[in-house]
């Protein structure tokens, strides 16, 4: 038997070892390295990105580090989702730079969950040139700037050109009305059994996102703001009901919506990549992800503007995008470094020919998409100029294939997403979209009324709304 004294020391050693082991846990953000350089972790690649896209990104990092010898950049695969943001913020594992969708950026900024970058962004050469409506998503209620918007998109219809050809349709003449989408979807589903001629997303909040887009395209709105700022939820409107009836007809009458009705963003992209969906609604820039993650051949990809009801005064195309922001828990030196990175990676390619060409060349060398359709963050002339710089490096055949979108989008009415409890609204609308696709006669009126009651209660509880008499 060991003596009590020995046993005590053994126990102390055990506790110490456990403490040391526990203290080894750490987060993923950068800091100040041993060499005195500021280290930042930036999120500029989607999870599952190919080795080629990583190579293109690393080329950009080397160029940046050469220009900024006191900053070390480490790339991290990251895709902002509401599901992980709060946990990563709490756990200290958020990257130092990451992207936040337009729907959430203002809320996070007002919550104090993002770093204030006003002092840096106002000094950017293009700091005062932003389209006011676009830069507004990067500001809090006091007007402070938390990042810069990039890759704004408009909702579009992506389609498989080969499926169009197989169904006897002309891939250069994609549908321009919802009726034509239906006719083409029926033709494709008949010619290619098992393929959904047309489908929309339905789960993880994307069902509500796309239903909102379909509503906008018919002239409806999900939320309205009174002159005193009071926001009213109105998903129970004629245009939303028409959009739902349209989906139900595709599913039950036309049999052209396939057999999987639980599709989120990744799910429908994978279904499109594997040839199970021929046409679907998504952001105009989705081709970048489709090539990186779903092995879609750009020459077989087509995209056109979402059909807009020309007889409805308010009809328009829903737009969104991403804001490049900094981690609120970063040190001032890191925030300054992140601002430089944001300027280099997202800002300069829009306004500086050399930066645009360098980025396009890096992407082209790694077979990544150059020329994905997007919307201007400055004015249309600046956008056109930046597009002309990268035109020689555009992905082969892509510009012609995206022409149905790029030649028509600028004449459309671009409408931002609902701005109050957007994700909650989208989440509440998911089951309504699923209902029309999985039940023959759901009570759509009652379902939409329930959505309005639920989201209105959340909005009314917001301090700014509660203060309005």
């Amino acid at each position: 038997m060991k003596s009590p004294r020995k046993a005590v020391w053994l126990a102390v050693a055990g506790v110490a070892a456990a403490t040391v082991a526990l203290s080894g846990c750490s987060g993923s953000s950068g800091g100040t390295g041993a060499n005195g350089k500021t280290e930042i972790v930036v999120a500029s690649l989607q999870p599952g990105a190919s080795a080629a896209s990583l190579a293109a990104f690393n080329t950009q990092v080397k160029t940046f580090e050469k220009q900024n010898p006191n900053i070390t950049v480490k790339g991290e695969e990251y895709n902002w989702t509401g599901t992980t943001f709060a946990a990563e913020l709490a756990g200290g594992t958020l990257p130092d730079e990451f992207g936040v969708p337009f729907t959430d950026s203002k809320t996070l900024a007002n919550n104090g969950q993002l770093a204030d970058l006003t002092q840096y962004i106002t000094k950017f050469s293009y700091g005062s040139k932003f389209n006011k409506n676009v830069i507004d998503v990067a500001k809090d209620s006091k007007g402070h700037l938390y990042g810069i918007p990039f890759s704004p998109y408009a909702m579009a219809i992506s389609y498989n050109r080969a499926d169009f050809t197989k169904a006897g349709l002309d891939p250069n003449k994609p549908p321009t009305t919802w009726d034509e989408v239906e006719t083409d979807a029926i033709a494709i589903s008949k010619a290619l059994p098992g393929v959904a001629g047309y489908m929309q997303m339905t789960s993880a909040n994307t069902g509500g996102w796309e239903l909102t887009s379909a509503t906008y395209s018919r002239g409806g709105r999900m939320e309205s703001t009174a002159s005193n700022g009071k926001v009213t939820v109105n998903s129970d409107n004629d245009q939303t009901k028409a959009a739902l009836a349209y989906l139900a007809k595709l599913r039950w009458t036309d049999n052209a919506a396939g057999s999987n009705f639980l599709l989120d963003w990744n799910g429908i992209n994978a279904a499109f990549g594997s040839g199970k969906v021929a046409m679907y609604m998504s952001g105009s820039d989705v081709i970048t992800s489709l090539v990186q993650n779903d092995k879609v051949d750009p020459t077989n990809y087509g995209v056109t503007v979402i059909p807009v009801d020309t007889t409805a005064a308010n009809a328009g195309v829903l737009s969104g995008g991403t804001v490049a922001v900094a981690n609120v828990k970063d040190t001032p030196a890191q925030q300054a470094a992140v601002a430089k990175w944001i300027d280099f990676y997202y800002g300069q390619p829009q306004v500086n020919q050399a930066a645009a060409v360098t980025q396009a060349k890096a992407l082209q060398a790694s077979n990544q998409i150059v020329g994905a359709p997007s919307l201007p963050i400055f004015d249309k002339a600046t956008y056109d100029l930046s597009q002309s710089w990268i035109k020689p490096y555009a992905t082969s055949g892509l510009l012609a294939n995206v022409a149905p979108f790029t030649s028509n989008i600028f004449s459309e009415n671009i409408v931002p997403e609902p701005n109050k409890h957007t994700q909650d609204l989208y989440a509440a609308l998911d089951p309504v979209v699923q209902a029309v696709l999985t039940q023959k006669n759901p009570n759509v009126d009652a379902l939409l009324k329930a959505v309005d009651v639920k989201i209105q209660a959340l909005i009314d509880a917001d301090p700014d709304q509660a203060a309005i008499k």
Binding site: P4, L22, A86, D104
Partner: protein, 297 residues
Amino acid sequence: MTWVRRGGLANLLFLLPLLLIFGIFSWWPIIDSFVISLQHTNFVVTTWANPFWSNFTFVFNDPTFAIAVRNTAYFAGLALVLGYPVPLVLAVIMSEVKRAKGLFSVLAYLPVVIPPVVSVLLWKSSFYDASATGVFNTILGWFHIPPQPWIQDPLTAMPSLVLEATWAAAGGTIIIYLAALTNVAPELYDAAEVDGAGIWKKIWHVTLPQLRGILLITFILQIIGTAQVFLEPYLFTKGGPVQATETVLLLVYQYAFQSSDGGSNLGAATALSLMLAACLAILSAIYFRATRGWSQN
């Protein structure tokens, strides 16, 4: 000092790692979750809820709460009807098998070894594929039965989830029952045989009474486990279609990670978690009190 000389300090120090680990990873989170349930936090700014119980009333007033409770009860009920007797029946049959007992045990336990995410994705993409080319629908086609929607229909989604969950979990319970069956004295079967008992009478009068203690434990463990079902609805359906598979734990997850308010309504999430924990604790206490006499011979 006498206490130290008698080894009291050593005992305490040996106990300390255990206390620390349980304290940090089990007890503290329980206390912390109670505190968080009384707060509003976005991990940068934290304030006390006003009134203190507002997170609880928020949960009660959420129309999805009633749906989640009903669905969870439905899942637990279905799992009890389907999932509880299946492992017992299989274990009894396997215990009667004279040859290749090990092979059957391996086959029964195999689904438990497969990572749950892998098995769910396998079932989702192949077995439950609602097109005519899905595995189950192909088999049904051989008997001229039209393709079924499986997880794509609000009516069939939950039973489909229970079917997969039973397949995935039965192996573990079978192994427990098989181990318990080896402890049943062979003399009891011999005596029953002498009394003229057939196979069914032997099972009813010998096997089941001898397994009573284990059966009572697996019964409550199954209820506790199924009341916390998350993996299947999350991976198969995300709670759809039309909230047909929305469960309490999935709702906790949605509160915690899918809110518009900075991604998290942790107060409501912990409030609902505590309510679930309290319900299960009360249920367990009543169950053990009610069955105290049954588990004794």
